[in-house]
């Protein structure tokens, strides 16, 4: 009788452990996103939060890699003018979608942005990555330790951030986004799609100057 009770007890405990494990792993893969969100032909559901007015008539979808120096050039040279003239005025919004292909630290850096997003600091973290970018790929500037240091500098909850980054919680999210880039014919970073409310879309390849964006955006608004 005692033996049976012990075996039964072990079975119950095993069952509880299995259920708890499966629940905890499914929690890792769960995040609060609108899976129906698309812009033109692109599923941006697992991309960044929308920067600017969500109801703006035109959206810029940027595909980028945090180790890409041309993305950095665009971030420094062109984006501030787009922010000033179009995003802050409510005419345009922007979504960043990861295309992390350049080096081994690229996917990790992209995952880190979503760990920051868990604490509603996506864009602050995104900006800190591009402003801290070093010219050499995989030289350690975007290693796990440095990614955690960037989070620390933004006063994020480090226990939450470290757990998120170390568990690779957003690995599949970044893979999904990179696949979106390939599916939409993006062949390098940065790559842009400008999409209007009628789903007309124009593709721009590379870190092109403000004048190009201005011309297209003005024709769509």
């Amino acid at each position: 009788m005692n033996k049976k009770a012990v075996i039964f007890g072990i079975l119950v405990i095993s069952l509880i452990v299995v259920i708890a494990t499966s629940m905890s792993s499914s929690t890792d893969e769960t995040f609060d996103v609108d899976m129906t969100r698309t812009h033109g032909s692109i599923s941006t559901a697992l991309g960044s939060p929308i920067l600017g007015d969500p109801d703006a008539p035109v959206t810029i979808v940027e595909f980028g890699d945090y180790q890409c120096h041309q993305c950095h050039n665009w971030f420094v040279d062109t984006k501030p003018m787009i922010m000033r003239d179009y995003i802050e005025t409510g005419k345009v919004n922007l979504v960043f979608v990861d295309f992390a292909f350049l080096g081994r630290d690229s996917p990790k850096a992209a995952q880190a942005t979503y760990c920051a997003d868990d604490q509603n600091m996506y864009w602050e973290y995104h900006n800190s990555l591009y402003t801290s970018q070093e010219s050499k790929i995989d030289n350690g500037w975007a290693s796990s330790e440095r990614l955690k240091a960037f989070a620390f500098n933004l006063n994020l909850d480090m226990d939450l951030f470290n757990e998120c980054l170390d568990s690779e919680k957003y690995s599949k999210r970044v893979q999904y986004n990179s696949q979106q880039a390939r599916d939409n014919g993006v062949r390098g970073t940065p790559g842009f799609f400008i999409v209007d409310s009628d789903y007309n879309q124009t593709q721009i390849g590379g870190a092109q100057p403000f004048s190009v964006f201005q011309k297209i955006l003005d024709s769509m608004i």
Binding site: D65, Q67, C68, H69, Q70, C71, N73, V76, D77, F101, L102, G103, R104, S135, K136, I137, D138, N139, R187, G188, T189, P190, T202, Q203, I204, G205, G206, A207, Q208, P209, S211, V212, K215, I216
Partner: protein, 159 residues
């Protein structure tokens, strides 16, 4: 030195060859390095901090346009060995490859085709773009002076 320039570049074929090399190399390298865009509009753009890269491309194209025709002149007219030619070709290829691989379509194609090996090669060529271009320019400068020296002595004998 001026006589050598006259001998090579007063020849219409070599002058055209030089111009073709310069313009095609300049265009291709500027396109690859994203100083020129063709779509959706033709536009030229030098991002801040990229001035050095732009200057090195112009120098590289100029030196290639100078050295390759001079070496061809040696080979065709003086029936000389092709050893000196390899220096100019090597310098040109090395210099061109440096900027070819970055986050643009060529880098993406290399990484997609060759996986981690391609990624390592791309990272190396991107990380050391400026030093590699400087080495390529160095090779072309050395080739230029050895070609001049060689043409001087060979022309004295030939003419």
């Amino acid at each position: 030195m001026i006589e050598i320039f006259k001998a090579v570049f007063y020849n219409f074929k070599f002058l055209v060859l030089s111009l073709v090399i310069f313009s095609s190399m300049l265009t291709i390298l500027l396109l690859i390095s994203e100083f020129i865009f063709l779509e959706p509009y033709f536009v030229t753009h030098i991002p801040s901090g990229s001035e050095m890269g732009f200057i090195l491309i112009v120098v590289l194209a100029g030196l290639s346009a100078l050295v390759i025709p001079m070496n061809l002149f040696r080979i065709i007219n003086l029936k000389n060995s092709k050893h000196k030619m390899s220096g100019s070709i090597f310098g040109t290829i090395v210099g061109s490859a440096a900027g070819a691989c970055s986050c643009g379509p060529i880098g993406f194609a290399v990484i997609s085709t060759f996986g981690s090996v391609g990624a390592t090669a791309t990272a190396f060529l991107t990380n050391y773009e400026i030093p590699i271009r400087m080495i390529a320019i160095g090779i072309l400068v050395i080739t230029y002076f050895t070609t001049i020296k060689s043409l001087k002595s060979e022309c004295q004998v030939t003419f």
